[in-house]
């Protein structure tokens, strides 16, 4: 299992940059995996539950992008 260990000898600049990079990684992963789930036929509610957020939140964040990408979102 990967363990996140911030080397205490590094200063706050490195650790804060790690926070920025982790957020960016999480955003990228979320965009890609929500898209994959919706292409595989998941409902908004299922994706929302899996992410631990509301259906409204996940819809607001991803619907426009997925519609523009041609994902069929009817009856979800």
């Amino acid at each position: 299992m990967a363990v996140v260990e911030i080397d205490p000898l590094r200063g706050p600049a490195d650790s804060l940059a790690a926070v920025v990079a982790l957020r960016r990684l999480a955003d990228q992963l979320e965009d890609a995996e929500v898209e994959r789930a919706m292409r595989e036929g998941w409902s908004w509610s299922q994706v929302a539950e899996a992410l631990g957020v509301t259906r409204q939140a996940v819809h607001k964040k991803h619907a426009q992008r997925l519609i523009a990408a041609g994902v069929d979102l009817r009856r979800r």
Partner: protein
């Protein structure tokens, strides 16, 4: 303030949004502005960048390197090729990040006494950051930020 942007600076701001979209980002960040500046040949900004070897390609390399280095300091190694490629944001206005807004504010300050905010002022705005992704990526690329700012000021005077 937008009306005071010189034509090439205005194009760079527009291009920065395209860079953000291409990078799969929902925010326009200062690094996207830096990338946009490198592609407008014959601008003060791109001349200053090119003089220290910064092109779209080398800036992209530096940013990728910074991302990987920062993740690795958190003990995470990611093969970015293995990440799924999400579809880009649709063509609507992306939100501007704090780093982008700060760069614009500093560009405005740098342009005091000039008629317009030029591409050189924009670059000075981006280079005015002390911390964050751009300064880290530049350091990784072996660029002395204050030297590059001095070169930019020279371009502005020239």
């Amino acid at each position: 303030m937008v009306t005071r942007l010189a034509p090439d600076a205005r194009s760079m701001v527009t291009d920065a949004e395209a860079e953000a979209r291409a990078a799969g980002s929902s925010l326009v960040e200062a690094e996207h502005l830096l990338l946009a500046m490198s592609t407008r040949a014959e601008s003060e900004a791109s001349r200053a960048l090119a003089s220290v070897g910064l092109t779209h390609e080398t800036i992209t390399e530096a940013l990728d390197g910074e991302f990987a280095a920062s993740l690795s300091s958190a003990g995470i190694s990611v093969d970015t090729g293995s990440l799924g490629r999400p579809s880009p944001e649709p063509p609507r206005r992306l939100r501007l990040s704090a780093s982008f807004k700060s760069a614009l504010e500093r560009a405005l300050t740098a342009s005091a006494g000039s008629r317009q905010i030029s591409s050189g002022h924009l670059l000075l705005g981006v280079l005015g950051a002390d911390a964050g992704t751009v300064p880290r990526a530049l350091r990784l690329a072996g660029i002395n930020q204050s030297e590059l700012a001095a070169i930019t000021r020279h371009e502005l005077d020239g």
